[in-house]
């Protein structure tokens, strides 16, 4: 441990950790740029460096991106990476109330906690967690996708029917391209570039950015202006103190992030959505989510950051990357002559442990930077609408182009944006559609592979309904479907009791109540 910290705090290594972390924050902030892309750009620079220095730099950038993607999600309702989709649900409403600094501080602190807990688990429980990840087969992937889809019940605040329809539309969109098992070319209408399918980031930018720009144009300055942000003293301490009173939420979200991170292919977007769903389910006031609830932000960002360490567990122990970014880091390891497995903790133990400990230092440094910077970032809400809307359109165009250097992606982004605007007018929400788009590939591949395996083994139903992890996931699916109904009924009872009770005392302005709702100033 002393050796590890000695290496991390060596001037050149520490400077590179900070600089790569800041670069990661910038990459995370820009929609269309992903941590994977930035890591891939950075790997060649590590050729001439010692392995420890190179890995510290890569780890710093990966962590920075997880901190940075929440900033545009909170300020302009645009997730910087797919992992920050769920942060928009409560982060943006909070920013619109003039309380962006509360949201950004919550983002930073939650990411810190997620990063620290994730690193502790990476350090102590890597082998058994990696074994658990290996037990996920096609049936488990299918049920995990179905569990993810049940989150629609939480996301569809206006109409469950429209939420389910949106989710199904998202599933249909996910089938565009070449089918994963049979190789059919589906719904490309002769456009060759569509054979690779719809890029998730293109769809995200289209579904979240363009409707917002169009609504700003439609309603204009008078009706769409968020409350101006005014700096307040003590916001950071107040927010952190509130979150420290929610240890169960933070620990649960971290565990969800790590567990989902160890599953190859499942990334931060799924972890954040599942964590958000669980936070709503276990909250005493689930109706407050989606309106600017700090607990919602904490749940998503904690999981989002702990996924980083989770994805490294199977990578370091078994050579199976838990995420595309982990795959790039695996490539860097192999370039430096290291082979994942037992050797990582024996022959190359000094490098591996230094790399893991660098996450401790990295998340603390990134927390200090983003928490301190929250007062500056929050001022973006005050940018006049006639400049904010074109800037969002700008970011959308550049971000969607940057993914594959293709104007077709930009055109698709605009088409998705138009569709999302029309869907909003019809009472649909973007969240369920995007959720369907994310879960579709997992559901399809899991289903088709399970059927193939089941037919070979004699019974598809036995395969789908008899494996232990599958049964746990099926139980979670049922709980996730039944719980919103129970919660809705309990909410109705509670509303009835409140109406009969004494009037609520006057709430202080800009204070965080026990339910995590920030009481804003009058709009």
């Amino acid at each position: 441990m002393l050796f590890a910290f000695g290496e991390i705090f060596a001037p050149s290594n520490f400077l590179l950790l900070v600089l790569s972390g800041i670069a990661g924050i910038i990459v995370g902030c820009l929609p269309g740029l992903t941590a994977t892309m930035a890591l891939a750009l950075l790997v060649p620079f590590t050729f001439t460096m010692p392995a420890i220095t190179g890995l510290i730099m890569l780890g710093g950038l990966y962590v920075g991106a997880m901190f940075g993607d929440a900033i545009p999600a909170t300020l302009i309702n645009t997730p910087g990476t797919p992992s920050a989709i769920a942060t928009t649900f409560d982060g943006y409403p909070l920013a619109k109330k003039g309380l962006a600094q509360h949201a950004l501080t919550a983002n930073a602190f939650s990411s810190l906690v997620g990063g620290l807990i994730g690193t502790i688990l990476l350090l102590t429980l890597s082998p058994p967690l990696a074994e658990l990840g290996l037990k996920f087969g096609p049936p488990e992937y299918f049920w995990m996708a179905i569990f993810g889809l049940t989150i629609i019940g939480t996301l569809a605040s206006q109409s469950i029917l429209k939420g389910l329809t949106g989710g199904a539309l998202g599933l249909l969109l996910s089938t565009i391209g070449i089918s994963p098992i049979a190789g059919d070319v589906r719904f490309t209408f002769g456009v060759t570039n569509l054979q690779a399918g719809v890029d998730l980031m293109v769809a995200l930018i289209g579904f979240f950015c363009i409707p917002q720009v169009l609504e700003m144009v439609e309603f204009g300055v008078k009706h769409h202006r968020p409350v101006k942000y005014k700096p307040q003293k003590g916001v950071a301490l107040q927010t952190i103190a509130f979150l420290l009173r929610k240890p169960i939420l933070l620990i649960r979200s971290s565990l969800i992030g790590v567990l989902i991170g160890i599953i190859p292919g499942a990334g931060g977007n799924i972890a954040a959505l599942v964590s958000y769903n669980e936070a709503v389910r276990w909250s005493k006031t689930p109706e407050e989510f989606g309106k600017g609830n700090i607990e919602g932000i904490a749940a998503t960002e904690t999981a989002n950051c702990s996924v980083v360490q989770g994805s490294l567990i199977p990578m370091l122990t078994l050579g199976i990357p838990g995420s595309p970014a982990a795959a790039v880091i695996l490539g860097a390891l192999m370039l430096h002559g290291m082979r994942p497995g037992a050797e990582m903790y024996t022959t190359f133990g000094h490098i591996t442990y230094t790399f893991i400990f660098s996450f401790f230092v990295g998340v603390i440094v990134m927390f200090i930077f983003t928490a301190w910077g929250s007062r500056i970032f929050a001022r973006m809400v005050n940018v006049p609408l006639q400049h904010l809307a074109p800037m969002i359109a700008f970011l959308a165009i550049v971000g969607s182009f940057a993914i594959r250097n293709s104007l077709l992606d930009v055109g698709l982004m605009l088409l998705f944006g138009l569709c999302a605007y029309v869907l909003h007018k019809l009472g649909f929400e973007s969240g369920p559609v995007v959720l369907g788009l994310i879960m579709g590939p997992f559901a399809e591949q899991g289903l088709v592979q399970s059927i193939l395996m089941g037919r070979a083994s004699g019974s598809v139903l036995r395969l789908m309904f008899s494996r232990p992890i599958s049964l746990v996931l099926i139980g979670l699916c049922l709980a996730s479907v039944i719980w919103p109904m129970v919660s809705h009924w309990q909410g109705k009872l509670r509303t009835g009791q409140r109406e009969q009770g004494p009037a609520a005392a006057e709430q202080p302005s800009a204070a965080i109540t026990e339910e995590g709702v920030v009481m804003g100033r009058d709009q």
Binding site: L161, A168, L169, V217, E218, K222, H387, F394, L407, L414
Partner: protein
Amino acid sequence: MINSDTLSGLLTLALTLVAWYHSRDFTYYGGLFVNWVLAVLLALGLTSAVKGLLPARRNQPKEKPDPAAYRKVLATLLVLALGIAAMPWIGFVLGSIAIYTLISMLIAPTRPRSPKGWAQTLVIAAITSGVFYAVFRYVLMVPLPTGTWFG
């Protein structure tokens, strides 16, 4: 006038029909998941359409559309579409300056805009485009379109 439930139900059914038509030639495993999703969409579309015809939904007050606002939305979409379509020829910088300036003009609270307002918007647009172009092109190595008209 039909309400949003009926309209969304009918649109869902239309989309399901189109997708089903195009999926007729898929192989068994290629079309398995698609067919399940289409079956779900069919059921949801029918439910939504029928729900919209129920008396309680039919009598709900409807928002009055604002034609002027919708014209501005259409204009914004046109600006975006034309700007993106023109980028291969005029390049990213010019295209984005045009998009920025025109969208800003559509949202501006005062009409008509003063020459000073126009100049201010153009300068901000030029600076923003230039900075984004420089960062993406030279730092992040993303080759944004330079435009065939400019080599």
